[in-house]
């Protein structure tokens, strides 16, 4: 295994690395116990420099208010609405069949380009009947992407879910067969359902694909 420059681990702990380099190093840390231990030691050393300053009691109430003003899945609805509007606009310009074909091709190309990169890992997405409905990909940088074999039914979107302790948390929506869900811890259990364009706070249809990645 090739190890990074030790100074880059210092730069990582100081948060001085550009995003691309940072992600690359984080991916290395996931598979390298010695570099991970060095990085963690730097973080611990730096955290010892941090002073404690009491916070006014009123801040907690303000935080609580802010938590209640914009639930996460509502914000994702806004994103989904944007995606949907973009999708509808593109439909208007390009025609349903052409756009769906184009979206599917682009999604597959991006997914398999990433899957071909060193360190990427693929797992099959399976429906409840055990049939493969797509793939899950963990990139070397720890990003997780899901690709279904077919696009969602017309007027519907795919919604990705993190399944933890028997509960489901939305990881985002897509009108295409590709869902980019971002970095997740190793061995995360993820699933996909078909939902209305705004997404749903919990799955409303059976899983169309699930895997641990």
């Amino acid at each position: 295994m090739t190890h990074p420059d030790p100074d880059d681990l210092v730069r990582l702990a100081l948060d001085l690395l550009p995003e691309g380099e940072r992600r690359g190093l984080m991916a290395h840390l996931r598979s390298c116990p010695s570099c991970r231990a060095a990085y963690q030691a730097y973080l611990e050393a730096l955290s010892a420099l941090v002073p404690e300053v009491p916070v006014p009691a009123s801040w907690e109430g303000e935080l609580r208010e802010r938590l209640r003003t914009r639930p996460l899945w509502e914000r994702r609805r806004v994103l989904a609405l944007g995606l949907s509007l973009g999708f509808v606009g593109a439909l208007f310009l390009g025609g349903l069949g052409g756009l769906r074909w184009w979206a599917g091709i682009s999604a597959r190309r991006r997914f398999f380009d990433l899957a071909a990169e060193p360190g990427a890992r693929l797992m099959p997405l399976l429906d409840p009947g055990g049939r493969q409905t797509g793939w899950a990909l963990r990139t070397a940088q720890g990003e997780v992407l899901l690709l279904l074999k077919s696009p969602p039914p017309p007027g519907r979107v795919y919604q990705a879910w993190l399944i933890l302790d028997g509960q489901r948390k939305s990881l985002g929506l897509s009108p295409t067969p590709l869902l980019e869900v971002g970095p997740l811890p190793e061995e995360s259990l993820v699933g996909v359902s078909v939902e209305p364009p705004g997404g749903s706070p919990a799955p409303t249809t059976p899983s169309v694909g699930r895997t641990r990645i």
């Binding site: 100074d7 963690q40 420099l49 941090v50 300053v53 996460l72 811890p185 190793e186």
Partner: protein, 171 residues
């Protein structure tokens, strides 16, 4: 249950939108997040925004925490550090301030300085200065070399040595 295990459990509950779990973490870590933000930004209002943003980020991203990469405490401080540096870089105060942006002694700031001084007492003055500039003011290695007039290799080796000394002191 140790504090780290408890924090991991709390983060898991936060991932499921458990407000009380987030507020528990807030009560435990907000003073450190606040201390870090004040130390970096030297501004109470900006520091407050960083505290709130940090915990909102945790609220929205708790499922992204990976225990393989560190403890919850360092993860939370990493989020706060990033947010505070981003604000610092966006502000006009991120200039070539050789002497840093120390506030006058007195009140909370004096206490902060004492705390930092205690943690830093294992270091040589030049190592201390280097760490302060890098961690609290976000200077890159090459900027530090330019600012301090040292070769880049010296900056790197002194930073590593300073961190190793701090680490040794923690043990």
């Amino acid at each position: 249950m140790g504090e780290d295990e408890e924090d991991i459990h709390l983060l898991r509950r936060v991932a499921w939108r458990d407000e009380e779990a987030l507020l528990h973490l807030y009560r435990r870590y907000a003073p450190r997040v606040h201390g870090l933000a004040r130390r970096i930004l030297q501004d109470g209002h900006e520091a407050k925004d960083v505290v709130q943003e940090t915990f909102l980020r945790i609220w929205n991203k708790a499922e992204r925490f990976d225990p393989a990469l560190g403890r919850p405490a360092t993860w939370i401080l990493t989020i706060a550090h990033r947010l505070a540096l981003k604000r610092l870089r966006a502000s006009e105060t991120f200039l070539w301030e050789e002497d840093g942006a120390w506030e006058p002694l007195g009140g909370e700031d004096h206490l902060e300085r004492l705390w930092v001084a205690k943690a830093l007492e294992a270091l040589e003055p030049e190592e201390r200065r280097l760490l302060e500039l890098a961690y609290f003011q976000g200077y890159t290695h090459s900027e530090l070399a330019l600012l301090l007039g040292w070769p880049l290799g010296t900056v790197k080796s002194r930073l590593r040595r300073a961190l190793a000394k701090l680490e040794g002191k923690l043990k």
